[in-house]
Symmetry: C2
Subunit: 215 residues, 2 copies
């Protein structure tokens, strides 16, 4: 699969190397590719426009407060028909969420109706994103999106990172992205309580289902 990753921070290049290692054709997009850090050097850095133009799947790993403007500058026509795998969360300068009460995922889906958006991976650190087996037990990541085919594509890419089918929980439509994004505030609390960002979250089910479960 041809993957264009937008975002030259910590998350984008980490995902880029992992999907490159899994055999995909990956590029990283940058506003100023000639000035960008070369990263591992295994994945070419091109312009954002070029990264999107050649991609089947566009990955939004830009800062969540900048994502809409950046994708708008690339343009809805260029993005049309491509899957947008969105891992971003927006924070304000005082450490709060920029999309309180709703979500960046929903905002992007509204802004680019011709591009199916799938929100995922934003509940774990980049080191866990690409190495879920480094944790002491199985953990869960979530999918939110309106388009079943786009979700199936993203599932495949998550498998390539080491997330088994059992680890993937489909929350429903893109509106459920707000749950994933708002978890960021608990993520920060857990990181403070444990002293590391490198942890997973496991949804633990009841041993037996009863009628009371769905009260």
């Amino acid at each position: 699969m041809r993957i264009g990753i937008l975002g030259t921070g910590h998350v984008g290049p980490t995902l880029a190397d992992a999907w490159h290692a899994a055999g995909h054709e990956v590029v990283i997009g940058s506003r100023k590719p000639e000035e960008a850090e070369p990263g591992s050097g295994r994945v070419p850095i091109v312009s954002n426009e070029e990264a999107v133009a050649g991609a089947d799947v566009v990955v939004n790993a830009t800062p969540g407060t900048a994502s809409l403007a950046l994708l708008t500058s690339v343009g809805a026509p260029a993005l049309a028909g491509k899957v947008l795998l969105d891992v971003a969360v927006g924070f304000t300068e005082d450490g709060n969420l920029s999309h309180l009460g709703e979500s960046l995922g929903e905002e992007l889906q509204r802004s680019f109706p011709g591009t199916p958006v799938v929100k995922t991976l934003c509940t774990v650190d980049r080191l866990v994103m690409v190495d879920p087996g480094s944790l002491e037990g199985p953990s869960t990541v979530f999918l939110s999106g309106d388009d079943p085919a786009a979700k199936a594509t993203v599932r495949g890419l998550l498998h390539d990172l080491g997330w088994t089918d059992d680890a993937l929980l489909d929350l429903g439509g893109i509106a459920t992205a707000r749950g994933q994004e708002h978890f960021s505030l608990l993520f920060i609390g857990i990181a403070g309580g444990t002293g590391t960002y490198r942890f997973g979250l496991r949804v633990v089910m009841p041993t037996e289902r009863t009628a009371a479960d769905t009260h």
Copy 2:
């Protein structure tokens, strides 16, 4: 311990029965005790004022949008020196959080500075609160609060519900209550994805800690 539980909905009586069974002296407070449902009948229903007056620990299991007004009507002098174990989350009529970007826990602590507030248990359903062993593996609950002695008291009460020390994660001060409360949006998504409210959340740690964990 003498526990006064405020809230006659689903959560309050469930906690009341569990702590009563663990040997504590428990009452449930109600605005109109003579009209309240008797629940299991094992725990007396009294006025809110009476429930607070006789308690070492006051449990806030009222709707989060009503909690401040109710506790204000009871009064800061009546609450002074007691531990306030706060399990409430406020929702608006459209299903969003009433305390977006901050938390009910912080609001209560600001409003009643003489009463140490400990936020906990609000990340799990009432059936899980009182029976963590009914899940297929260990799960985690969180504590947020500024007062170490109050947290130690609450830890003891969580042990009595079946939460082992390993299951309790101290997030830090009461400001971290916002993480617990904002998780409610992901809780709703997970309930939608799994078809049950009865699930736990396990924080899964790395098998080995490295310097990169604290980047």
